[in-house]
């Protein structure tokens, strides 16, 4: 296995068994060792049982995408090896209890029997199994035993000296088992050496969206829990008291969206966080935001539909839904972060965009991005100001004053002499109900003048590759890192990668740019190539070749490299 992409390790077991604890421990230990880490999970929609796995990548250079191939598999329960399937190769070290793997499963990799249940029992609780597993891995990788054991003890120090000590012990015992095996089998595994600096902090996409919202001045959150978007709400709720954010769990998504509109109308900055099914219930509110020109920020963490679909898995299947959602015609903005960093910066920006243009802004993420952690530099708070564009109203205030750019000065009730009339019926400049055809036409035009304004400022999509490329890969949202690494892995230096994080409106001049490329290939984590269809709708450029995936999982680097190679060879 080529090692310039570091090591990939999977932890596999039942829900509620502590995979998350191992994930957290490994993040801590590798990060402390000055290494880059990336972790992502796939899990079943249940609270206990089932088979879940987390993949951890550790490397001396930044790692940001899922690889299928495994260097080590830690099997915490029976069925784990089966669950990982072909990800286990003859070179993979498979560590687990003797009884948890069948002889066939043991034969698929290099099997290391570890009695971690006995170790845990001896120390007084199944909880210690997780720490022992982390220890086995550290031993296998010839890591610094003492430094890591101390870090483990430190992590658990809040739980008292005894617990911290037992965790140190569990780690040490695991470590010794791993180290012994490594020596006995003459394994070449080792922890990569740090090169350059790893990012100072580790976040996943959900935390980044939440922090981005807070940095964007979000001070009101109303939501109804729904996987995979709940984490954003939970994170903000945890900080609400300290940061002065009002948080309400609504009775349903309809109420959640209406509350956020009420908050914006009264001068707050509201966020709702949901998934496709919840967003479906917010569709009328989106339309309401459109006609009342009330700002709104919606975070939509996609999961595979239709219906309940695969509640805990990933897909980019809601793009066209967000584009067309809502009765009637009105402008909107759709953003789709391509990385954990972008999840922060784009969500932050979403609040100023909503405020400035008085339109709904949808931040489109997915389970894969939300649940993926990586190391990165602390988010930079400089160079950004929370813009509150509301004005002090005068006595003759007109909420929907017709202006050149379509943006009417936004008043809020109780601030100034004027009355602020927001109306979901078609309305005149004062916000009064009307059926006057000329006024209606003027209001429609006014609302769409805002879209033209937004369009003017859409930055170019991000391009990486040679100046002139024969094959241009078009991607959006969370596929960014996988496409990049796959192109590198496939050795396709002549191909370019055009990545979109702003999906609507599209940047001006896109048509010319696309027409320059000899061959266009769309990469999308959905069944039909929704973004390619959107591009065709808006530019007339047809993208015939599409690499698609809609099985509930994200693209792995290997499968994408394979598909890209085939496309390039055509």
């Amino acid at each position: 296995m080529a090692k310039n992409h570091g090591l990939s390790i999977a932890i596999c077991g039942q829900a509620g068994q502590g995979i998350k604890t191992v994930e957290g421990l490994l993040q801590l230990l590798f990060h402390r060792a000055g290494l880059h880490v990336f972790t992502t999970k796939e899990y079943m929609s249940r609270i206990r049982g089932g088979m879940n796995s987390t993949t951890v990548r550790v490397s001396s250079r930044p790692v940001r995408a899922l690889r299928a191939g495994l260097d080590v598999a830690l099997i915490l329960d029976r069925g784990g090896a089966d669950h990982l399937g072909e990800r286990i190769s003859p070179e993979t070290v498979v560590a687990g209890e003797e009884d948890d793997l069948t002889p066939e499963e043991k034969g698929r990799g290099v099997f290391l029997a570890v009695p971690w249940r006995a170790i845990a029992k001896e120390l007084g609780g199944s909880f210690y199994l997780n720490t022992a597993a982390a220890g086995v891995l550290a031993g296998l990788l010839a890591a610094d035993r003492e430094a890591m054991a101390s870090a483990v003890a430190e992590k658990f120090s809040a739980k008292g000296e005894e617990v911290a000590g037992k965790n140190r012990e569990a780690f040490g015992r695991g470590f010794d088992a791993g180290e012994r095996f490594r020596k006995d089998r003459d394994l070449e595994l080792s922890l990569p050496s740090p090169a350059g600096e790893a990012g100072k902090v580790i976040f996943n996409g959900a935390e980044a969206v939440a922090l981005g919202a807070l940095a964007g001045g979000c001070n009101f959150l109303s939501f109804y829990p729904m996987s995979p978007a709940t984490g954003v709400g939970v994170f903000i709720a945890g900080q609400a008291g300290e940061l002065g954010v009002e948080v309400e769990q609504a009775e349903d998504e309809i109420a959640a969206a209406n509350m956020a509109l009420g908050a914006w109308y009264a001068g707050g900055r509201g966020l709702v966080t949901t998934s496709g099914g919840g967003f479906a219930l917010m569709v009328e509110s989106l339309s309401l935001a459109g006609v009342t020109e009330t700002p709104l920020v919606i975070h939509l963490g996609q999961r595979p539909g239709p219906g309940t679909g695969l509640p805990t898995r990933t897909e980019q299947g809601d793009l066209l839904f967000t584009l067309f959602a809502g009765h009637g015609d009105f402008p909107r903005i759709i953003l789709a972060p391509g990385s954990v960093e972008e999840a922060f910066y784009l969500t932050r920006e979403a609040f100023n965009l909503a405020d400035r243009f008085q339109v709904p802004v949808i931040v489109l993420t997915d389970q894969y991005l939300l649940d993926s952690y990586r190391d990165l530099a602390p988010f930079d708070l400089s160079g950004f100001e929370v813009e509150n564009s509301f004005v002090e109203t005068g006595p003759d205030y007109r909420r929907y004053a017709l202006t050149e750019d379509g943006i009417s000065p936004r008043g809020i009730p109780g601030r100034g002499e004027g009355l602020v009339r927001a109306d979901s019926d078609e309305h005149d400049e004062y916000g009064r109900i009307t059926e006057d055809a000329a006024v209606r036409a003027a209001m429609v035009e006014k609302r769409f003048r805002k879209l033209a304004e937004i369009e003017k400022e859409v930055p170019e999509p991000e391009y990486s590759g040679p100046e002139n490329c024969r094959t241009l890969i078009i991607g959006w949202g969370s596929t960014r890192e996988a496409v990049r690494e796959a192109l590198e892995e496939a050795g396709l230096e002549s191909a370019g990668h055009l990545h979109f994080s702003r999906l609507f409106p599209l940047p001006p001049g896109l048509k010319d740019r696309l027409e320059k490329a000899e061959r266009l290939v769309a990469v999308e984590n959905n069944a039909t190539g929704q973004f390619a269809d959107l591009i065709e709708l808006r530019t007339g450029v047809k993208i015939e070749r599409r690499i698609l995936k809609a099985d509930g999982g994200p693209f792995t680097v290997e499968e994408l490299a394979e598909s890209l190679k085939k496309e390039a060879a055509r």
Partner: protein
Amino acid sequence: MNRNEEKKMDIAWCPGCGNFAILKVLEEALDELEIDRRNLVLVSGIGQAAKTPQYLECSYFNGLHGRALPVAAAVKAANPELTVIAESGDGCSYGEGGNHFLHGIRRNPDIAHLVHNNMVYGLTKGQASPTSALGFTTPVQVRGVFEEPLNPVALAIALNASFVARAFIGDAEGTREIIKEAITHPGYALVDIFQPCVSFNRTNTYRWFKENTYPLGEDHDPSDRLEAFRRATETEKLPTGIFYVNPERKAVFDREVAGEGDKPEPLHRRLPDREKLEKLILAAGSR
């Protein structure tokens, strides 16, 4: 636009509609309470009653059918300095907005909820509403309504709402006093206002309401929840007045949600604290 200009508007109600009288007593109530119209927000849904804010000197958010309550709760939470009234009809409040009604009561925001209850859908031209009487016939309910009518007053008391009242607009003075109490009540205050629909309800007319309602009476104790519930379930004749005021329930929603003690700062005056955020990023990101 000043108050006189509101009077000049082409009002969309039928001549003789009870909405005119409700608008009038609401204006009187607001004036008597000396509520600064700059700090008043009416939130409405859709329907004829929901047009009330259009004809009143006030800020308003005229939203979607059934959705007045969540908007109103959020407006109040975002700026507790505002006086917030949610106003709509029976279809909007109890039908399309039924779930928000239940949870709005639980939430207990400091708002008054004025429901024009004419027991029929007017704007869509005469279908049954959730409060239509059994047997009420319409072009849709051709064999008569078979669904048990929703009793909003009993329902609200069952949910331990903090203020529950019923008024009949034929009694303008009584209605005005109840509305004043509802507006000043610190918490969610329901006023179900009987009102005839002169175009589509030939059963529940002015005369019918007059003959079928009577005041709760001076001796009714609004802190007695069981008695309030019993009175709310009377069917022979329908009592009007303040049925129930929960002495225990405080308007916690604004404070709980705002999280800043008795006088939460309106959101428009809150600015993010960059220093705190910087610290949070470092603390949360260090695993």
